[in-house]
C-alpha cells in the first residue's frame, strides 16, 4: 500500500467535499421552495384565483368626474379608470370588471365594509382616520386641495375671502377637503359629493368649492368658459392640504392590498428605470395638461412577491 502524502489527503478531501456538494445540489434542486410568496399564492389568498367563484373584479369608481372617472354611453374613461384597468389586468381579470358607481364619499368605505366592491379608485385620499376602517394601496397620485370659482368671480383671492363667504363655499362631506376647511376656520356647506357642489357653482348657489385639484381641473375642462381653478394655497403647517390618493381595499383582505401595492410598485420601478408605463401614459392622456407634469409616486409599501417575470433582466 502506498503511504498517504499530504497532497493526496488534500485531493481526497476536495473530492469528498465536491461529492457532498453535488449531492446537496441534487437534493436541493428538487426539494427547494421559494421563500417569497408568489403572486399566484396571494391571488388564492385574496380569493381571486378561481374565476368560477369570483368571475368579475368589482371596482368602485366615480362616473361623473371627467379626467378621473367618467361614464358616457356605457364607455368608461379617465385616469382612475385606466389605473383600475391596469390593476385588473395584472390581477388576471382583464376586461372582466364590474364598475360600481360611488355616489358620495362615505360609500367608498361602506362599499368595502359591506363587500360590495373589491377595490375603490375614487379620489380616495389616504388618511390615518380612514385606515382604521379600510386598507390602502398606493398612493398612486399626489394632488393638493384647491378652490374652484365661477370664471366671472373677481372677489375671491385669499383665505380670508373664503372665510367671509360662510355657507357659500361648498365641499363634499367626509372628505379631506372638509377637514382642511375646518382647520382653516372656513365654514362650508358640506354636501353629498363634489358633483352637487359643482352644479351649485354653475347655478350660482355657491361662490366657491374646495376639492382635490385633479377633481377640479376635471370640472374646469368640462366648462372652461364658466369656471376656473384658483392658485390659492390652502395648506397649513400641520395640514398641508396634500392629498395622497390611494386604492381602497377591504380591511379583511390584506393579500389583495399586497397584490395592488406590488403591481403599483412594479410600475413605479419600471418608470424609475426609464421605461414608459401605463401609469404615465394614462396621466399624460388625462391630467398632464390641466394638472401639471408628474411622475408616479412611490407606493408606501412594496411587498416582495414572486412573479413570472422574476428572472427578467433588471437593466
Amino acid at each position: 500500500m502506498v503511504g498517504f502524502s499530504q497532497k493526496k489527503l488534500v485531493a481526497a478531501g476536495a473530492v469528498l467535499v465536491l461529492l457532498i456538494l453535488v449531492g446537496a445540489a441534487a437534493w436541493r434542486g428538487e426539494t427547494e421552495t421559494p421563500d417569497l410568496p408568489s403572486v399566484a399564492e396571494k391571488l388564492a389568498e385574496a380569493g381571486l384565483d378561481d374565476h368560477a367563484r369570483h368571475p368579475v373584479l368589482r371596482i368602485g369608481i366615480h362616473t361623473e368626474r371627467r379626467l378621473l372617472g367618467f361614464q358616457e354611453n356605457g364607455v368608461y374613461t379617465g385616469f382612475d379608470i385606466e389605473i383600475a384597468r391596469y390593476i385588473a389586468k395584472n390581477l388576471g381579470y382583464g376586461d372582466k370588471i364590474e364598475w360600481t358607481p360611488i355616489r358620495n364619499a362615505n360609500d367608498r368605505i361602506l362599499f368595502l365594509e359591506q363587500d360590495t366592491v373589491d377595490l375603490v379608485l375614487a379620489s380616495f385620499s389616504i388618511t390615518d382616520e380612514r385606515k382604521k376602517r379600510v386598507r390602502f394601496a398606493g398612493p398612486y397620485l399626489i394632488t393638493e386641495q384647491s378652490v374652484l370659482v365661477s370664471a366671472k368671480n373677481k372677489t375671491i383671492s385669499s383665505i380670508q375671502d373664503l372665510r367671509n363667504l360662510a355657507g357659500k363655499v361648498c365641499v363634499a362631506a367626509s372628505t379631506t377637503s372638509e377637514s382642511l376647511l375646518e382647520d382653516r376656520q372656513i365654514r362650508p356647506d358640506a354636501r353629498d359629493n363634489s358633483e352637487v357642489c359643482f352644479k351649485g357653482i354653475l347655478d350660482g348657489k355657491y361662490q366657491a368649492m374646495v376639492a382635490g385639484r385633479t377633481i377640479l381641473v376635471g370640472f374646469a375642462s368640462q366648462y372652461p368658459e364658466q369656471v376656473k381653478v384658483l392658485d390659492l394655497e390652502l395648506g397649513l403647517e400641520d395640514n398641508l392640504g396634500i392629498d395622497r390618493v390611494g386604492i381602497g381595499v377591504s380591511k379583511n383582505n390584506p393579500a389583495l392590498q399586497d397584490l395592488v401595492n406590488y403591481f403599483l410598485n412594479k410600475s413605479y420601478l419600471e418608470q424609475q428605470s426609464g421605461r414608459m408605463t401605463e401609469w404615465q401614459s394614462a396621466y399624460d392622456r388625462y391630467l398632464a395638461v390641466p394638472h401639471g407634469q408628474q411622475s408616479q409616486p412611490k407606493p408606501d409599501e412594496a411587498p416582495q412577491l414572486l412573479d413570472y417575470d422574476a428572472k427578467a433582466p433588471m437593466r
Binding site: 500500500m1 502506498v2 498517504f4 497532497k7 493526496k8 489527503l9 488534500v10 485531493a11 481526497a12 478531501g13 476536495a14 473530492v15 469528498l16 467535499v17 465536491l18 456538494l21 453535488v22 446537496a24 445540489a25 441534487a26 436541493r28 434542486g29 428538487e30 427547494e32 421552495t33 421559494p34 421563500d35 417569497l36 408568489s38 403572486v39 399566484a40 391571488l43 388564492a44 384565483d49 378561481d50 374565476h51 368560477a52 368571475p55 368579475v56 385588473a88 389586468k89 395584472n90 390581477l91 388576471g92 381579470y93 382583464g94 372582466k96 416582495q304 414572486l306 412573479d307 413570472y308 417575470d309 422574476a310 428572472k311 427578467a312 433582466p313 433588471m314 437593466r315
Partner: protein, 342 residues
Amino acid sequence: MTTDSDSPAEASETLRPRGSQAFWTVVVALPAAFSLLRLWVEAGGQVQTTLLLVANVSAVNLLAAMFITGTRLVTMGLVAVFAMGGILSLSADAAEAAGDPSRRRPLFARWVEAAPLWLLTTTFVLAAATWQILYLPLLVPAFVATFQATSAYQALHAAQRLLAATVVLLAYAWVVWPTLGDAWQQHEYFALLMLALPPLLALMISEPVPTQLARLIATTAQPAVLALLVWAALPVLTTPVLPLTVTTATSADGTPEFIRGHVIGSDDTMTSILQERGGVRYLLNTRITARVLCPLPEELPVYRLRIRDFHVEDSLLEAVGRRVRPVTVTDAACRSATTSAT
C-alpha cells in the same frame, strides 16, 4: 491503459463494432423510449389520452422537445462520468507507478481515456450553455478533473497551469463577488458555498487520491451516477411536452369560456385540448375566439440572486435569450387557476 481483450488488434475488430451498435441503440432508442414515457405522464396516465397524444405529437417535435429539456440531463451524466473518470485515471496511474495496480482499470477511467477530445469539449460547452448558472461553478473542478487525464493537459508546464488557474480564478472572483455579498445578506448559504467553493476545490484535485478512496469511488461511482441520473430525470419526465395555453371559446349566446390546457391538435372542424387538471375537450373551431400562452408555476425561481444581472436559475442560453426579448408578459387569462366561464 488496459483493455478487456487480450490484444488491441482483436479489440478493434470485435469490440468496436459491437460497441458502436450498442452506442447507436442507446442514442436513438433511449430518448425515444423516454419520450414515450413522458407522453404517458403528460396524458395523466390514461391510455386513451396517451394514444391521442402519440397520434398527434410528431416524432420530430417530440425529439426536439426532448433535446431541449434533456441536454442538461445528458451533459450532467457525461460530466459526472468524465470527472470521476479523470480522478480515477490519475489515481490508477499513481497506484501503478507505486507498484500497486488495481485488478482492472476503473470503467470511468477507461471511458474518459477513450473519449475523443472533441466529445469532452462539446460536453463541457453544452453543459456550460444549458446548466443553471448556480451550478456552473461545479464545472470548474469537473473540467480540471476531466482534462487532467488528457495528453493536452499533461503537456502543459506547471507554471502555465498556475498562470491559467490564477487568471481564471481572478476573473471568476470579479464576476461573482457582488453576488456572494447578496447571498450572505439573504442568508442563502448553500448558494454562497456553491458559488465560492468549487473553483477553490479545483486547485486541489489535480493530485491522485489515496488508493482506498479511489477504489471506493470506483465501486460506488457507477450506481451513484445512475442514481443521480434517475433523480435528475424525474423532473424531465414530468416536464410538459406541449405548451400551456388558455383558449377562449365563445358560446352561441356570446358567453366566453376560458379553457386552461395543452392544445393537442386541430383539424378542419375541431380542436382538442388536454385540460390542465385532466380530461380532453373537443371544441368547434368556430367557437374559438382567442388563445394565449401561459407560464407554469414551476418556472418561478427559488432564489433572488443574480450574477451580473443574470438570474442564477437561468442557464446562460436562457439569460441571453431574456436579453433578446426582455419583456415578460403574463396574460390576464393565465392568472386564473381554473377553467372558467363568465
